[in-house]
């Protein structure tokens, strides 16, 4: 354990300094709810991100299971078309924005400062703000279920024509179906939820870019950064360039719905196709925002379990950057059936094919990493190998889509559904679960026992293939996606039934994973600092890491710093910087990020209620924005805060 046992702010005599201009004191709770609400510690924030996103993974999964139960047999009457549409909309939105993205953010938060040898992120309060803004957006989206329940009980009645309360427009909400003429206040919840989530993601992305550039430990050159940190950097750049178009598109849609403009409203001359362009200018980079962190995680795990450096480090990073950049030039391949014209279709078709090259490079390099190694099959590695295999298969159907004429048959069928679930579950989720297993001993200090983890990986991979492989055939057999039922004469029953069974197997796998995590957290054996004989800086410190991360700022001499520290030459050993007499400076906690984000929550729900015709809600929305503004001012006036820690003794990497 750390020798720096005290996590309380030392030097209470400095309390006056921690008072703001208007006399507010920075909070210093060390336990309980207030501690979690006010924390600016990147590790605690990461844990909250992980817990929220796993909760939403379960919620989104339950939605998927209901969808699959409905489709198990032809002409099923289990749920109505309306509920089905709400379920697939919320399933997609939840999985993309509330499960995979925040789970990636959890890894960014936990690992980036540790991997670069920093004490925290560059802007700790902004980090807390990102988390709570994400929570606000998640609440705005999902509270629609409660309003729907209230509507069923007769407690809440929107004005005529707006009774569609849970979003039912699909996760990309194509105009003009999102206009007031066709959809109810569910769309308002959807718009506002995504808008708020976007703010949180943007704030986090700025923060990580600055952190990675500016907070690196001495000697941690860019080309010595762990690959996961590199992928975080590229992902953050994708976020800062991809989210503004979504913000604008959602803003324009909001103006259409609230103020009668005609951006996407055909009666006023608007072109609904514009929405598709703006959405996919965001949407395609978003796909890479979901997969690049996963690639980073895999690039960390494979070398550790092969006991070999990553094959082609610079090429993996370069190909990641190329994927990110090309991601902005291929958005229209989601729109091959919208009549882009000959030149447009051909250009986007070829650019899309080009993306296969850097993606292939990554797979080659991963195999190259395994080649000649000593591969140990522990749980993270099983998930990791599953990732390579499944992601590769998703990539193949991706190549099939890139050929526009062939895609015009596959577009919007279950073939596409199969493709993106292979890359999102087989890609992102498998890698994120691999990462959860890999770093779980570091985060909790506990190591699992028994084989449940192994079995969860195997069951998830079986369930995944059982569910999504037959979907390719369903797509070829012409089953369109987003249809809540199908006729008996179509011949899709057998496969659909099989797929439903597969979905439940997948769910069992996820359940086994959750049980194993929980069991390890409660009864795991002590893991030690470096259970995997790993390569990067985060393994050089105790598990769980102390609040200040590194007792002494490390001085890095090479890539794979910790590995070379252990097995390299003497001059490759990690050095350290003496913190000096004033110790390690730590940021103070704050209520203000939470307050600022809560303004968004009030604003979002009030705007949706305004659309539902509830009186006075416009004023409440303004109140919400005022809360945010007040929060920002109090935040700025809070004063610098901070306290110093004096880690006792010589705690060096050993």
């Amino acid at each position: 354990m750390s020798t720096a046992t005290s996590t309380a702010p030392l030097g209470a005599e400095k309390a006056d300094e921690n008072r703001s201009l208007i006399g507010l004191r920075r909070p210093d709770h060390t336990t309980g709810l207030a501690d979690w609400l006010t924390t600016v510690d990147h590790k605690k924030i990461a844990i909250m991100y992980a817990i929220f996103s796993l909760a939403f993974l379960v919620i989104g999964g339950i939605e998927a299971l209901i969808i699959r139960a409905q489709l198990a047999v032809a002409e099923n009457q289990l749920i109505t078309a309306e509920v089905y549409n709400q379920l697939f909309t919320m399933h997609g939105t939840t999985m993309v924005f509330l499960a995979v993205m925040p789970l990636s953010a959890a890894f960014f938060n936990y690992l980036v400062p540790l991997q670069i040898g920093a004490r925290d992120v560059a802007f700790p309060r902004l980090n807390s703000f990102s988390l709570w803004t994400f929570v606000a957006g998640a609440i705005i989206l999902n509270i629609s279920w409660l309003f729907q329940a209230a509507n069923l009980l007769g407690w809440f009645n929107p004005i005529d024509g707006r009774s569609d309360i849970v979003p039912a427009v699909g996760w990309f909400g194509y105009a003009p179906y999102t206009d007031t003429a066709y959809s109810g206040i569910g769309t308002d919840f959807w718009i506002l939820g995504l808008q708020v989530l976007g703010i949180g993601s943007l704030a986090a992305a700025f923060n990580f870019i600055v952190t990675i550039f500016n907070m690196r430990a001495p000697g941690m050159l860019m080309m010595r950064l762990p690959v996961f940190t590199w992928m975080t950097l590229i992902t953050s750049f994708l976020i800062i360039f991809a989210f503004p178009p979504l913000t604008v598109a959602l803003g324009e849609l909001m103006f259409d719905r609230y103020f009668g403009t005609s951006f996407f409203r055909v009666e006023g001359g608007g072109q609904p196709i514009l929405w598709q362009h703006l959405f996919w200018i965001f949407g395609h980079p978003e796909v890479y925002i979901l997969i690049l962190p996963a690639m980073g995680i895999i690039s960390e795990i494979l070398p550790v379990f092969s006991r070999k450096p990553l094959f082609g480090y610079s090429l993996i990073i370069f190909s990641g950057a190329v994927i990110g950049f090309l991601g902005f030039a291929v958005w229209s391949h989601h729109m091959f059936t919208t009549g882009l014209g000959t030149v447009g279709t051909a250009a986007f078709s070829l650019l899309t094919m080009a993306i296969a090259v850097p993606t292939g490079v990554k797979i080659f390099n991963w195999i190259g990493t395994l080649w000649g190694g000593k591969i140990r099959f522990d749980v993270p590695m099983i998930y990791g190998l599953g990732f390579i295999w499944m992601f590769m298969m998703g990539g193949f159907s991706g190549i099939m889509h890139s050929s526009a004429p062939a895609d015009s048959q596959q577009h919007d069928t279950y073939f596409v559904v199969a493709h993106f679930h292979y890359v999102l579950i087989g890609g992102s989720i498998l890698a994120l679960l691999a990462g959860l297993y890999f770093w779980f001993p570091k985060v909790t200090g506990r190591m699992w026992q028994g084989k449940l983890g192994h079995w969860s990986a195997i069951v998830i991979v079986i369930g995944l293939n059982w569910t999504f492989f037959p979907m390719h055939y369903l797509g070829m057999a012409g089953m369109p996606r987003r249809t809540h039922t199908y006729l008996e004469g179509t011949g899709w029953q057998a496969l659909n039934f099989a797929v439903t069974i597969g979905a439940f197997i997948l769910a069992v796998g996820i359940l086994m994973f959750l049980i194993d995590m929980l069991r390890t957290y409660r009864k795991g054996v002590p893991a030690g600092n470096d259970p995997w004989n790993a390569r990067t800086l985060e393994w050089s410190i105790p598990s769980p890491p102390p609040v200040h991360n590194f007792d002494r700022t490390p001085v890095v001499k090479a890539r794979d710093a910790f590995w070379l520290h252990k097995f390299g030459t003497v001059d490759q050993k990690i050095g350290s910087v003496d913190p000096g007499a004033h110790g390690v400076h730590m940021p103070s906690k704050s209520w203000m990020p939470l307050l600022t984000s809560s303004g968004f929550l009030v604003f979002g729900i009030a705007m949706a209620m305004k659309s539902a015709g509830v009186p006075l809600m416009g004023y409440l929305a303004i109140t919400g924005l005022s809360i945010t503004l007040i929060g920002i001012y109090l935040w700025a006036l809070e004063g610098p805060g901070g306290y110093h820690l004096h880690p006792e003794g010589e705690h060096r990497p050993h």
Partner: protein, 120 residues
């Protein structure tokens, strides 16, 4: 880059001299940009035979103003090159997207049967 953090008095002196020089740079730049704005206004009223030239001249003039502001007023000229790269990266992606969108949309696809707004 806040040079005043520097404790070295000599460096401080150099910095102040630089800042004083910049005062005149800023002034000249502002006069230039005012003049350019005036020229732009005159240009659009000129009965010039080739409107294409005016079109590109206007774009060129605004580009000069743009570059003037970001490199001098916003100190990019004197700052780390990385900041220029970051910003230009955003500019390149944004202008590429605008150009691609403008090429993808054409009048030919518009359905005249739908209710397009009519001027009254």
């Amino acid at each position: 880059m806040s040079a005043i953090a520097s404790a070295d008095p000599a460096a401080q002196e150099t910095f102040l001299r630089e800042e004083r020089k910049r005062y005149f740079t800023f002034m000249n730049l502002a006069f230039l940009m005012t003049a350019l704005t005036g020229i732009e206004l005159v240009l659009i009223y000129l009965p010039f035979p080739s409107q294409t030239i005016i079109y590109f001249t206007l774009i060129f003039l605004s580009l000069i103003k743009f570059v003037g502001v970001i490199f001098w007023f916003m100190h990019l000229l004197w700052d780390k090159a990385f900041l220029t790269i970051v910003f230009l990266f955003g500019m390149v992606i944004a202008s590429g997207t605008i150009a691609a969108l403008l090429l993808l949309f054409s009048e030919g696809y518009v359905d005249p049967a739908m209710g397009i707004y009519e001027a009254d």
